[in-house]
């Protein structure tokens, strides 16, 4: 894609525009630049794409890469923080600070910190070129606007008023004035009084550090510092001044304990990094780099060539600029997306440099969609020892799913957005770019209309509790008397939902009320995009207004009264009536968690496990399977739609990508083969196709890839005419026949090298026979003969002993037997035999009641021929909807039991079964019914490891490790311990010595060395060998090289590593001496 570049020369000369090609830019699928944009499903299918392709990812090198969204601190909100690390900044610093991440319109940001010092003073800190610069706040205050000490004093102390001393919401304290005096005295000490002096002072310090301004005046440097580093989200210095005053007040209040610090780990103070924003700021930096480099090149040119170089000749400039490759910018963005790594000097005010993109695996649809819903806390937190960042905080209610987070290492750090949560962006719902400045002015107009006293031209000198400051996107726009504030908030919310108003529907109205030592009060309004929003119902509005769905953000949610069905009154009693209502309680769950039926009846960790396992399930992964060349693709042959499903299932049409089978599950201890989470599969069911599946695996052979440049094009796919044995597996084009079965070790493609006139074949690795599913040749980089081929293999993976299965309730198990159908218990009435038997012990401790409910519901559903709705919390919703009293008493179990009873089945879902082996009635009734089972991708065929003898390590002569190479499994220390404890000495010796590096070494008993033995080769062959007798140990003649005699030579059995150790130590000048003796004397 070509881009336009402006160039202008100074002093009124005309602006010249030149075109530069900045290279290619990766296109996100289904965005505006993508040819798939707006394509309907029919067109998508004809383009060989998924019918339900959603886009949102990049394809780089044939891999699908998704952006991994990361949590960032909330932009333009001054956050008070207590962190012990602040103390280590420098001598005299306390652990308290107020931090603000200022974000420009283009999403680039600068974080500012206001540190509180032990002596009562305050420093303003920001990072510049890898170093933190700390400025006394007094200087900054004075440098921002023309002011005087009295004014600053008044501004800062105004929040303290004698009469409100201990009242609710009073944030000031008498100590503030003392601190202000110190701050002012600091400036005085430097004998800086006027604004100009302060600017000069700042400029003097920053002139050497700021790139490209070394020759500018101090004043200009200081102006740049203020523009580019201090409150970059504001353009006006008065605004900056007001915000600094506000932040100082907040800091002092934190120090005086009149307000508590904000929690940076809470979602309230967080937002999300979106792919577009990261690319924008990365691109901006790359462009800046390019310009800087171009400037340097021109400067160098002028210096080197002196007079000869005509600066005013555009052609010359262009020539110089060409040395600075502009196409790199496109490539650098591409590499960023390919690797997820930022190559940047400044760090872009981001916490991490790597891990911004991940590969979207299409294992199944749920896994795929989860990549787009995932939000990571940040890689830097993964290494943190503390667990506080992983905590599930109530602030994330409704935005991040409490269930859908992996257990183990990334637990609590990798979260998923709930199904209702959205992220506001620069585009509105109709895809138009939103004008934020227009929004802000209209909000301002509304605010002034309802009684806000605007801060411009001068900040009102008063503070809480009398008035509350209003911040709009980090700008102090005015104050509102605290008596009016509730009305203002309600008014804003009304305008938010009404379609006619200019107030955006996702405006965050963060009203922090006055409190006794709570959060610092104020009205914080946010319009800017990358923030979480979710819909709730506003019930305070008159009901005739049809539009009552309000989008709320995590910041405002904390201080809102939102009612949730079955949540009772949430402890608010009558004092704080609910103003809002959750649309449905399932809104707090992610898409995947929402699919677990009756999940409200499960023990909560089981739902978490299910979210894990749903993402590892073999399912119908893609529909355009034929046209894809994924490296590995799991595919279930005959998936089914679950009988018991939540309404989310239909909403997201998971039927397009189903992931399991309705299996008839009997819960009984039958043969003992279902112990400890093992499960017995009915062999006949498997014969008939239950859980059959395939793995599609693509291998790419690129002939131009290997070898150097000269060889390129010299290699061809071709079959050797003379090697007749190959003809049954390889076609005349050197590639395999489609449909052909290839056994392990068999060749599947043949390559001819023109230069060396040699043939080579590629052979199958692994231990499985595979089918050739598809062969594709890529003609892109070759003139007439293919240089690249994709060969897709198909592994059949029908269930065998050792494969893993799971229900939708975190109940996983391994198939332990494929049991004959006739030996399975059967029902006398229906003749039904179960497909699957699980052990009743799987239930008591895990408390997955929902699985039992699912079984009963599915049984009822299949008897009545209908799907069952298993949406969680349906019970509580029904009650609040005020249904008629008759239904009230009916519990879920009653409802389901009645369904069974009408069909002549037991109310509780149990049945009388007969032993398949004896034909006698089993002593108790068996719980049996259909349960949706998932086949997990962990299969023995990929995991089994066996070895008797095989490859050994070259150095240690011990068996090698690694399944791929036919290695063994380490018999480690703990295994050794257990054998010792059993007293199984012979077995231990067998494992650790005989089967490992058993070695008979020749040791010299005179010098005790293992290493000095040398062989004297016998001249003649032993006579006994000729006689056909088994060769005895070759009578080797060994002498000690050190002692020059063979007298003391003995043979000793030892691990070979010991000998190796002796050799290694010898290299370090350490000698190992063995003292030999027979067992009796030792």
């Amino acid at each position: 894609m070509a881009d336009v570049e402006f160039q202008y020369l100074d002093a009124g000369s005309p602006v010249v525009r030149e075109r530069f090609n900045f290279g290619q830019f990766p296109v996100m699928l289904k965005t505006r630049r993508c040819h798939l944009q707006g394509a309907d499903s029919q067109k998508l299918v004809s383009l060989k794409e998924e019918a339900a392709e959603m886009g949102g990812y990049f394809i780089l090198n044939g891999l699908e890469r998704v952006f991994r969204s990361v949590i960032l601190p909330k932009q333009n909100y001054p956050m008070s923080m207590v962190r012990s690390s602040f103390r280590d900044r420098r001598e005299g610093y306390t652990d308290k600070a107020v931090v603000i991440r200022c974000v420009r319109k283009d999403q680039s940001s600068v974080t500012l910190k206001l540190y509180y010092l032990l002596n009562g003073s305050v420093r303003l800190g920001f990072w510049l070129q890898g170093k933190e610069y700390l400025l006394p706040v007094g200087i900054v205050l004075k440098a921002l606007v023309d002011t005087n000490d009295l004014e600053i004093f008044n501004h800062l102390t105004c929040c303290y008023d004698e009469k409100y001393k201990k009242e609710k919401g009073a944030v000031g304290s008498p100590l503030v004035s003392e601190r202000v005096k110190i701050i002012l005295a600091e400036v005085q000490d430097l004998s800086l009084t006027t604004r100009l002096q302060c600017l000069q002072h700042i400029g003097e310090h920053f002139q050497p550090v700021i790139d490209g301004l070394q020759s500018e005046s101090y004043y200009a440097v200081a102006e740049t510092v203020i523009r580019d580093y201090i409150f970059v989200h504001l353009n006006d210095n008065n605004d900056k001044f007001n915000l600094l005053i506000f932040m100082l007040q907040k800091l002092f209040s934190l120090v005086d304990h009149t307000s508590v610090s904000d929690n940076p780990d809470s979602l309230q103070n967080q937002e999300i990094l979106l792919p577009g924003h990261l690319i924008t700021i990365y691109l901006k930096e790359k462009l800046e780099d390019w310009l800087r480099k171009g400037k340097k090149l021109i400067q160098d040119e002028i210096e080197n060539n002196g007079k000869k170089f005509d600066f005013f000749n555009l052609a010359n400039i262009k020539k110089v600029m060409e040395k600075n490759p502009s196409k790199q910018i496109g490539t650098s963005i591409e590499t960023m997306l390919k690797t997820g790594r930022l190559a940047t000097q400044t760090g872009l005010d981001l916490q991490q440099r790597a891990g911004y993109t991940v590969q979207a695996e299409r294992l199944n649809f749920l896994r795929f969609i989860s990549f787009f819903r995932a939000v990571h806390r940040g890689a830097s937190f993964a290494g943190l020892r503390t667990t506080s960042v992983r905590k599930l905080l109530p602030e994330s209610w409704g935005f991040l799913c409490p269930v859908h987070t992996p257990d183990g290492e990334p637990c609590g750090l990798l979260n998923h957005m709930t199904s209702t949560c959205r992220v506001a962006s620069y585009y509105d719902s109709r895809g138009n770019i939103r004008d934020f400045s227009k929004m802000r002015t209209s909000i301002l107009r509304v605010l002034i209309g309802v009684g806000m006293i605007p801060s411009l031209p001068k900040l009102v000198k008063s503070g809480p509790p009398a008035v509350l400051s209003v911040l709009l996107d980090g700008r102090v726009v005015g104050v509102i008397p605290s008596s009016e504030i509730e009305k203002v908030v309600a008014h804003l919310r009304r305008l938010k939902v009404s379609a006619a108003s200019v107030i955006p529907d996702d405006l965050e109205v963060g009203y922090v009320p006055l409190s006794l030592g709570g959060a610092y009060p104020g009205l914080y309004l946010f319009t800017s995009p990358p923030k979480f929003v979710r819909p709730v119902r506003n019930i305070s509005l008159p009901s005739e207004e049809s539009q009552n769905i309000e989008l709320i953000g995590p910041f405002e949610q904390v201080f809102m009264e939102i009612r949730c069905p079955d949540g009772g009154d949430g402890g608010r009693r009558n004092a704080f009536p609910a103003t809002h209502e959750e649309i449905h309680p399932t809104g707090m769950l992610s898409v995947v968690a929402n699919l677990t039926p009756y999940s409200d009846h499960n023990q909560s960790p089981r739902n978490m496990y299910q979210c894990q396992m749903a993402k590892q399930t073999m399912g119908f992964s893609v529909q355009a399977l034929k046209f894809r060349a994924d490296q590995k693709l799991y595919h279930l042959q005959t998936p089914q739609t679950p009988i018991v499903r939540t309404n989310t299932y239909t909403k997201y049409s998971i039927d397009e990508y189903p992931t399991g089978t309705n299996a008839i599950v009997a819960v009984l201890a039958y043969t003992g083969y279902d112990m400890e989470d093992a499960m017995i599969l009915n062999k006949s069911s498997v014969d008939r196709g239950m859980c059959h599946g395939q793995i599609y695996q693509t291998e790419t052979i690129d002939l131009s890839d290997d070898g150097n440049k000269v060889d390129r094009g010299q290699k061809l796919f071709r079959r050797n005419k003379d090697a007749k044995s190959l003809h049954s597996v390889i076609d005349s084009d050197g590639l395999p026949y489609v449909g052909q079965m290839i056994h392990p070790g068999e060749p599947y493609c043949s390559i001819y090298d023109k230069t060396t006139n040699s043939w080579r074949t590629n052979s199958r690795k692994g231990s499985e026979s595979v089918f050739v599913d598809y062969v594709a040749v890529d003609m892109k980089n070759s003139k007439n003969l293919p240089q690249k081929a994709n060969i897709r293999f198909r592994h059949t993976r029908n269930p065998i002993i050792g494969d893993k299965f799971s229900s939708r309730h975190g109940q996983k198990g391994v198939c332990s037997q494929l049991w004959p159908d006739i030996d399975m218990p059967f029902s006398g009435v229906t003749g039904m035999r179960p497909d699957l038997i699980i052990n009743p012990h799987a239930f008591p401790s895990r408390m997955t009641i929902a699985m039992l409910l699912e079984s009963v519901a599915a049984k009822g559903g299949s008897l009545h021929g209908k799907f069952m709705d298993a949406t969680p919390f349906a019970n509580s919703v029904k009650k609040t909807n005020g249904d008629t009293g008759t239904d009230e008493s009916k519990s879920l179990v009653d409802e389901l039991g009645e369904m069974l009873r009408t069909c002549g089945f037991n109310y509780h879902g149990v049945e009388v079964l007969y032993s398949g082996v004896y034909g006698t009635e089993l002593t108790c009734e068996i719980f049996i019914g259909p349960v949706y089972y998932q086949r997990l991708r962990h299969m023995v065929s990929d995991k089994f490891q066996v070895r008797s003898t095989g490859t050994m390590d070259q150095i240690t002569r011990q068996p090698i490790k690694g399944r791929k190479r036919g290695g063994g499994i380490r018999f480690g220390e703990m295994e050794r311990d257990s054998l010792l404890a059993h007293g199984a000495a012979y077995l231990l010796h067998d494992r650790l010595h005989t089967c490992s590096d058993y070695h008979v070494a020749d040791v010299c008993s005179l010098c005790g060395s293992v290493l000095t033995a040398t062989f004297i080769h016998p001249q003649k062959r032993a006579i006994r060998e000729i006689g056909g007798l088994p060769p005895a140990r070759a009578p080797k003649k060994v002498t000690c090289h050190a002692c020059q005699t063979s007298k003391g030579m003995e043979t000793v059995a030892m691990p070979y590593v010991f000998r190796y150790l002796a050799a290694e130590l010898a290299a370090m000048n350490i000698k190992i001496t063995l003292q030999l003796g027979d067992g009796a004397t030792a």
Binding site: K626, Q637, K683, S684, S685, D687, R688, G689, H692, Q694, G739, F771, D773, R794, T796, P820, D821, I822, F826, S827, G828, V829, T830, G831, M832, L900, R901, C903, G904, F905, N906, Y907, V910, E911, V912, Y914, G916, V917, Y918, G919, T920, E921, E925
Partner: protein
């Protein structure tokens, strides 16, 4: 073994007989016999099913193994099965299924030329033996009867897709693979014996009787509208679920009803896949069972047994 003879003479009374369904009583025998019969019907009565598929062209959406698996599961009329040879025992061929004693060849050629999806069904399979053909389903309910009977769908083809294959069907038993099982369902139940304690029953009010009768999920009991007497409508509807007994206990009337399972009479329900008729299935099962028992009888002379029964004899000895 001394003189005592345990010989019994089981009786069979047929209640209902359709091509694919049979219901009969088996009396004067015990559970081991009944269950043996059930097991043999499911797993050891031989049928013919497609076992070897040679695919010439397959451009359909389903892969080769999938189609082969589907073909295998199509029931084929297997009246001949009992007299056929297992291809592993066949001396007339080397087991690749070319001979008429052990195998039947099928051909399938289908290509879609129109824009409409073409259903390739079991009707498109052409058999080399007219006695072994895919089971013809005649829908008794008349559902979809306006359309011509299309058989079992194997795969659907769109324009340009083609399927061409040769398949060999062989004799086999359900134990080896479920596709050879001739039985869809075989089940038996013990005939229940229900005694209502009339005296105790009369002590109940009509409402109590009503609720007791309704406690059974199946309709076993009813109340005579005239006399108000509880009587057994259908003893066999009882599923041994003990619901009525529990109900009686809950009402404080234990012993209101006594239900026993007759140890020596069974009610069998047999459903066939259509490969062989349900009646034939039962007869074949008895035949197979007899052969197996012969093997037991001859097991003293193992060599002779091996000669006569081949693998079956070895199997009976615990193979």
């Amino acid at each position: 073994m001394d003189g005592a003879s345990y010989q019994r003479f089981p009786k069979v009374k047929i209640r209902e007989l359709k091509d694919d369904y049979a219901k009969f009583e088996l009396r004067d025998t015990d559970a081991s016999m009944a269950n043996a019969l059930r097991r043999v019907m499911i797993a050891e009565v031989p049928t013919i099913a497609i076992d070897l598929v040679e695919i010439e062209v397959n451009s359909s959406v389903l892969n080769d193994e999938f189609i082969a698996h589907r073909l295998g599961l199509i029931p084929l009329t297997s009246e001949r099965a009992m007299s056929m040879r297992f291809s592993r025992d066949c001396d007339a061929c080397d087991g690749d299924g070319q001979c008429e004693f052990c195998s039947v060849e099928f051909h399938l050629r289908a290509k879609c030329h129109s824009d409409q999806t073409l259903d390739v069904t079991s009707k498109d399979l052409y058999s080399s033996d007219h006695s072994v053909v895919p089971v013809d389903f005649v829908d008794p309910a008349g559902y979809d009867s306006t359309d011509q009977q299309r058989g079992i769908i194997i795969v659907k083809l769109r324009r340009g897709q083609e399927l061409r294959l040769r398949a060999i069907a062989r004799k086999g038993i359900g134990k080896d693979h479920a596709k050879w099982s001739p039985a869809a369902t075989v089940t038996f139940m013990y005939e229940p014996e229900i005694h209502i304690n009339e005296d105790l029953m009369e002590s109940l009010s009509l409402e109590e009787k009503q609720s007791w009768v309704e406690s059974s999920p199946t309709k076993v009991f009813d109340i005579d509208p005239n006399t108000g007497q509880v009587y057994v409508v259908d003893a066999e509807a009882y599923t041994y679920d003990d619901e009525v007994i529990k109900k009686a206990e809950a009402m404080g009337k234990p012993g209101l009803v006594e239900i026993y399972a007759k140890e020596d009479s069974f009610i069998f329900t047999v459903e066939s896949t259509g490969a062989i008729k349900a009646s034939q299935l039962v007869l074949n099962a008895i035949e197979v069972l007899k052969q197996k028992l012969d093997a037991v009888r001859l097991s003293e002379d193992t060599v002779e047994a091996d000669d006569q029964f081949g693998e079956l004899g070895a199997h009976m000895r615990g193979g």
